[in-house]
Amino acid sequence: MAADLKFAKTHEWVRPESGGVLTVGISSYAVEALTDLVFMQLPAVGRKVKAGESFGEIESVKAVSDLYAPISGEIVEVNAALPGKLETLGKDPYGEGWVVRIKADNPTELDGLLDRAAYESLVGSQPH
């Protein structure tokens, strides 16, 4: 797990890129907890999202889960290959398994997210 990542309590990760753009994905903990992924719905490029708002869905055999925007902004890119290759989420959740890129309205919102140690301590205290 790369050290420059930030995490939402809802299990999305965020990596700051250049120009205020953030790459967003799903933590390996969440992917492992979901298991048996069958479907993913991504947002349209250009959509505006608010922090905490659902921007997509991921469905496993057992249940449907929302994907929540960790930060407010505009969806500027989506990983269109991902819904057809959901196994990538398990194999490379912090690389090829990225989900969307968001141009942040206010990059200081990042400060409200968890760092890696805080996230690991959060999920370490949760039963699967």
Binding site: T35, D36, V38, F39, E59, V61, K62
Partner: protein, 381 residues
């Protein structure tokens, strides 16, 4: 209010093997160990083993036991032979309102040493308390003994094309041959891995297999032995998640979903579970009238184009008209697509009818499909 959950004698095994434990009908049960899909496919290809000790196991005995159950169950109990298992409904007419309390398996065991009849009724965990209360309220003054043996025993389902071979490998040749020769919905007693077991050729997966009932103290040795014998052949321990996807593919109704208190059994395709001929079980008149005047929605299968499944409670639409409601739905691992069971209006119930499932804010095309979705190749057995 949170109450402490019941645990089966196998709970430590489940936890030690990565079982994700959930509250199911008041029991702490594994929903999966690793992957529901892998557990499901192992059951179809080789074998799966399931701790189903949460199911209610009731025993009935005494000189009037058969006559008493004959007056209470929708299937005929009079004349039932030793070793016969029948799928039945348990109905009640308490308060003048006929309801389906549960679906259940009734079987006749070997007679007691004193020659009296013994029967066993297996009921759903979610309905055990109320079925026990209902039957207790109907006990005659004499001639029937009735006991809830759920906590004193354990139940292990071994299902799949290799199930009979695996269980047989833990028995004497004579017991193995008797189990292999059992017809569907037949039961016998045998010694499995050194433990006395009631063995029935039944299950809830659409595969060949058996369900074993053993004393609680025998649960772990029998479970361990089946697992050790089966794992090299591809057997997997399976949780309730795979049990649900397997029964869905097999088109089997689940109480609380397809089957409910106010259900018309015929509309769900359970005509054969209700024998009306001259019988007087609770609500017989009501169910006879429903059979003679079919009305309301009927149970169908739906096959989706996508892997994305409609779930219980989702609407089924045809154009702008709601024509039904989904009762169970999931991605079906054997079929590679999503399927569902739904109660739909009779005019859209014919196989091939195109409908849509409303999945959150999207509509997914589906086609009405005959049940079951999956049927094993019986020639292979």
């Amino acid at each position: 209010m949170s109450q402490s959950l019941l645990e089966t004698p196998l709970v430590e095994w489940h936890v030690a093997h990565g079982g994700r434990m959930v509250d199911f009908a008041g029991w702490r049960m594994p929903v999966q160990y690793a992957s529901i899909v892998e557990e499901h496919l192992a059951t179809r290809r080789a074998a799966g083993m399931f701790d189903v000790s949460h199911m209610g196991r009731l025993t009935i005995g005494g000189t009037a036991a058969v006559e008493w159950l004959e007056s209470l169950l929708t299937r005929r109990v009079a004349g039932i032979e030793v070793g016969r298992v029948r799928y039945t409904l348990v109905t009640s007419d308490a308060g003048g309102r006929p309801v389906v309390l549960d679906d259940a398996l009734i079987s006749r065991d070997t007679d007691a040493p004193d020659g009296t009849t013994r029967l066993a009724l297996v009921v759903n965990a979610s309905n055990r308390d109320r079925v026990v209360a209902w039957l207790t309220s109907r006990l005659p003054g004499a001639g029937v003994t009735f006991a809830d043996r759920t906590l004193a025993t354990a139940m292990i389902a071994v299902q799949g094309p290799l199930a009979i071979q695996i269980v047989g490998s833990l028995c004497t040749p004579a017991d193995a041959a008797r189990i292999a020769g059992l017809g569907n919905y037949r039961a016998t007693s045998a010694v499995v891995a050194g433990c006395a077991a009631a063995v029935s050729r039944t299950g809830y997966t659409g595969e060949d297999g058996v369900e074993l009932v053993v004393d609680a103290a025998a649960a772990t040795p029998v479970w361990d032995a089946v697992h050790a014998a089966g794992a090299p052949l591809g057997l997997r321990a399976c949780g309730l998640g795979a049990r649900d996807t397997l029964r869905l593919e097999a088109g089997m109704p689940l109480y609380g979903h397809e089957l409910r208190e106010d259900s018309d059994p015929c509309a769900i395709g359970l005509d054969l579970a209700v024998n009306l001929d001259g019988r007087s079980f609770p609500g017989a008149g009501h169910y006879g009238s429903l059979r003679n005047h079919p009305a309301g929605r009927v149970r169908v299968g739906l096959t989706f184009e996508s892997k994305r499944s409609a779930r219980e409670g989702d609407a089924v639409m045809q154009g702008e008209r709601q024509v039904g409601i989904v009762t169970s739905g999931s991605f079906a691992p054997t079929l590679g697509t999503a399927v569902a069971m739904a109660m739909v209006d009779r005019d859209v119930a014919s196989p091939g009818t195109a409908v849509e499932g409303v999945i959150r804010d999207s509509r997914q095309p589906a086609v009405v499909t005959p049940l079951p979705f999956y049927q094993r190749d019986k020639r292979r057995a």
